[in-house]
């Protein structure tokens, strides 16, 4: 069956089963491979994207459900918060192997858009669903603080 899927501001037509996980569709049909497969069962956060601005695990969201929302992936992440996070990530060298980082960034982006000055506790709560095998947690938290500070300086 054909589904219309709105991803990163573009409407795509995807001809596959509505039960297919969104992650499969993003990676295999739309070739948006920035979103990663970690556990495949909502345990690691590597596959995090936004649906109508809310972070969701794309491995556990069906195409049929995703088709009712506007999906944003790491490839389409834009705006001041995304720029501040990118700059902070580069400046601090946050990633190690990098596999988890697109998911980390999408969660961090949702956090910063909702809370421009998050505390350590806010960051820990928002990011606790994103695992990092390389244990870059301290740099992630510092990177979010850096990005928040940079956003504060701009405004």
């Amino acid at each position: 069956m054909t589904h219309s899927l709105f991803v990163n501001g573009r409407l795509h037509s995807v001809d596959t089963d509505g039960d297919a996980p969104l992650l499969w569709v993003l990676r295999d049909h739309l070739r948006l491979t920035g979103t990663k497969y970690g556990c495949g069962k909502a345990q690691c956060g590597a596959c995090t994207v936004h649906a109508d601005g809310q972070p969701v695990r794309s491995c556990s969201l069906s195409l049929a459900d995703a088709a009712t929302s506007r999906i944003e992936t790491i490839e389409g992440a834009a705006g001041p918060e995304a720029e501040a996070l990118t700059a902070a990530w580069v400046a601090r060298g946050v990633p190690q192997c990098g596999f988890c980082q697109s998911g980390q960034l999408m969660s961090a982006l949702a956090l910063l858009r909702a809370n421009s000055a998050p505390t350590d506790a806010d960051i820990d709560a928002a990011m606790s669903g994103n695992l990092c095998r390389c244990a870059t947690y301290n740099r992630i938290r510092a990177g979010i603080h850096d990005a928040a500070a940079a956003l504060g300086d701009r405004s």
Binding site: D19, P21, G40, K41, A42, Q43, C44, G45, T48, Q54, P55, V56, R57, C59, S60, L61, S62, D65, S107, A110, L111, A114, N115, D122, A125, A126, M127, S128, G129, L131
Partner: protein, 221 residues
């Protein structure tokens, strides 16, 4: 005198090869005793959950107070089931699985019971069980209020707090409605994946709670 090293003749090589072949064939053709299938120990036997007893099964209890307690004890098999208890934690973190271990990833109840504002339950739990990936879901997925924490409490204590004005947030009528008709409570009988459902059906459970209320809602000690 020059000693000549003994040499293996073709015949002896052939004999050795022949002996080796005989040995290999003997090893391959030796009678094997296959292990006999054994019955699994009782510890691994599948747990057979008895269905909920109907209300009529308690009619023989003449004393209304004793009947009321017995009805609640039967309903308590649902209340104390991991499908229900996991979302009635006494901390801010739900539990999961039949072992009722802390929820992974670490999540918090948040101000409305549906997760931290930045890590909502809906980040992973959708409107329905996502069977392909075995992630359970329901449109109302959220934790019970902390005042209705059931974990670590006896059935009697659970019952007392249901009606404690300081801790109860619903009337008796609403309680019956919640247990008998609430769709999220109903998920406990349709949990998807390999999660064992609560015993009986939601309708049977609701009938037990209704009969218990009609018998003056007595609770076990």
């Amino acid at each position: 005198m020059k000693l000549r090293r003994p040499r293996l003749s073709c015949l002896s090589i052939a004999m050795i090869l022949f002996a080796l072949i005989i040995l290999i064939v003997a090893i391959l053709l030796r009678p094997l005793t296959l292990p006999k299938p054994e019955a699994l120990s009782a510890a691994f036997a599948p747990v057979v959950v008895a269905p909920l007893k109907p209300v009529s099964a308690f009619n023989a209890i003449v004393d209304p107070a004793a009947r009321s307690v017995a009805l609640f004890q039967e309903a308590g098999r649902v209340i104390r089931h991991p499908r229900c208890m996991n979302c009635h934690p006494r901390t801010d973190r739900p539990t999961q699985t039949d072992a009722m271990r802390p929820h992974m990833p670490a999540v918090a109840r948040g101000p409305d019971g549906a997760g931290d504002p930045h890590l909502r339950c809906a980040t992973c739990h959708n409107d329905a069980n996502f069977t392909g990936r075995d992630v359970p879901g329901n449109p109302q997925w959220l934790l019970a209020l902390i005042e209705q924490a059931w974990q670590g409490r006896s059935l009697g204590e659970t019952c007392r707090q249901l009606f404690d004005p300081a801790r109860s947030y619903i009337t008796r009528a609403e309680l019956l409605e919640h247990m008998a008709n609430d769709a999220l409570v109903g998920w406990a009988w349709h949990p998807g994946g390999d999660r064992p459902p609560a015993p009986g059906t939601q309708a049977q459970f609701g009938a037990l709670i209704a009969a218990w209320r009609e018998t003056d809602a007595r609770w076990p000690a």
